[in-house]
């Protein structure tokens, strides 16, 4: 049997395969079920760090400013994401309010901070404290960040509102659009495999399975 580090088991069908070197930009897929096993993403750590830092800035803007406003007889009412969460809480819809808060604010914030906290030291070949726990936490949180779904929800509500009100788009509307793209780019370039490879290359952390 070869060195275990060169073996990879498909996460979807458990087929044991040997890793092969890939050209940049290529992906290896399982020979039996077709699942993508790993990619050779160029500078994945640098890119994911850049995208997540940019996303963090846009995230703050998106949460501070109104998403859109409606105007009725000269009166203007506007809404922020946190305002919507608070308003729903006050309408006795606490569960939904918490679900929205979790999926659009807390989880994305957690993902962005942990990605930055993890990748910034790694870029300079330092090991961030508690990195194993953090990587596990990120894996658990991953499916629950739903900014892109929220973005579609914003667009649907916009169309629904225009039939009865004059709607004025706010700063956050654009910010959420940009945030959706940045988060997708950060998620696409973030490669736990490269993070583990970088960690393994740091002296004193070698693993002997």
């Amino acid at each position: 049997m070869a060195h275990p580090a060169q073996l990879i088991a498909c996460h979807d069908c458990d087929l044991l395969q040997r890793e092969i070197p890939l050209n940049p930009g290529c992906a290896a897929s399982c020979s039996r079920c077709g699942a993508v096993l790993y990619r050779n993403a160029t500078d994945s750590i640098d890119r994911a760090l850049a995208y997540s830092l940019a996303a963090a800035v846009v995230f703050v803007i998106a949460n501070l400013f109104p998403i859109f406003s409606i105007e009725v007889q000269g009166d203007r009412t506007s809404i922020t994401l946190m305002g919507a969460v608070r308003s729903l809480w006050n309408q006795d819809m606490q569960t939904i309010s918490l679900l929205v808060l979790l999926t659009t604010v807390l989880i994305p914030a957690l993902e962005l901070t942990s990605m930055t906290y993890l990748l910034l030291p790694l870029k300079f070949r330092r090991v961030p404290a508690g990195y194993t726990l953090l990587l596990r936490l990120m894996r658990m949180a991953e499916p629950w960040g739903m900014v892109e779904v929220f973005m579609l929800g914003v667009l649907v509500s916009l169309v629904k509102l225009t039939s009865s009100f004059k709607v004025i788009p706010g700063v956050s509307l654009w910010s959420f659009g940009v945030l959706t793209l940045l988060l997708a780019a950060a998620a696409a370039s973030f490669s736990p495999r490269d993070v583990w490879a970088r960690l393994d290359s740091i002296p004193g952390l070698e693993v002997t399975p």
Partner: protein, 211 residues
């Protein structure tokens, strides 16, 4: 890929679900941790089928009130409407917002149904140790994982409208009890699909090759 036909579990090798490191696991009785990241090692997700069934059945039960109760109440001095998920889609269609009606229909009706039925199919086939189109079934599972989150759409729409349109007698939008049930269906089916272990689809085939 070098051609191999063995599953990792068949070789007593276990792939870590967090860092993907393949490590040897001899004694099944002892709780093992991944040598690299410290996560619990398991050949297959523990209790996968039972837990997935439990979550799925709960989702089926809540799917009924989610569709029968009111999702959104819209009131103004001129009109008052109570909409369920379906009647909301129909109303959108009738008022000419076809594009939005189609998007909402896919997110709130098609996707939840697709998830419930696909997971049922996957669970039944795994329990019967079926060897029927494993590649297609794995693809189906990946599809369920991919699209599941999009059914949250209606929850966000209701949240935004109910928070914004609070203009007293002029117009008021209120979230109905179906929103809670529907939110629960989305969360439960997401948990269910996380609990399902797609490697179970391939296990019956593995036994054939390595008796």
């Amino acid at each position: 890929m070098t051609a191999m036909t063995a599953s990792a579990a068949g070789q007593k090798l276990c792939s870590c679900h967090v860092c993907n490191l393949v490590s040897r696991r001899e004694q099944l009785s002892v709780q093992a941790h991944c040598p690299r990241c410290g996560a619990f090692l398991h050949f297959r997700k523990p209790g996968s089928v039972v837990r997935c069934w439990a979550l799925l059945i709960a989702a089926y039960i809540l799917y009924i009130p989610a569709n029968l109760l009111t999702m959104m109440e819209t009131g103004s001095i001129f009109s008052y409407r109570k909409d369920t998920i379906i009647s909301g889609v129909v109303h959108l269609w009738k008022t000419g917002s076809w594009g939005i009606a189609v998007i909402v229909f896919i997110a709130s009706v098609t996707i939840p149904l697709l998830k419930l039925m696909s997971l049922t199919l996957l669970l039944v086939s795994v329990q019967r140790r079926s060897r029927w189109h494993p590649r297609q079934r794995t693809r189906l599972y990946r599809l369920v994982e991919l699209v599941g989150r999009w059914s949250m759409l209606d929850i966000y729409v209701v949240t935004l409208l109910a928070a914004l349109v609070q203009l007293g007698a002029m117009a008021t939008v209120k979230a109905g009890p179906a929103a809670v049930a529907f939110g629960a269906v989305v969360v439960l089916t997401m948990f269910a699909s996380m609990q399902f272990d797609p490697r179970l689809i391939w296990d019956p085939l593995q036994k054939e090759r390595n008796p």
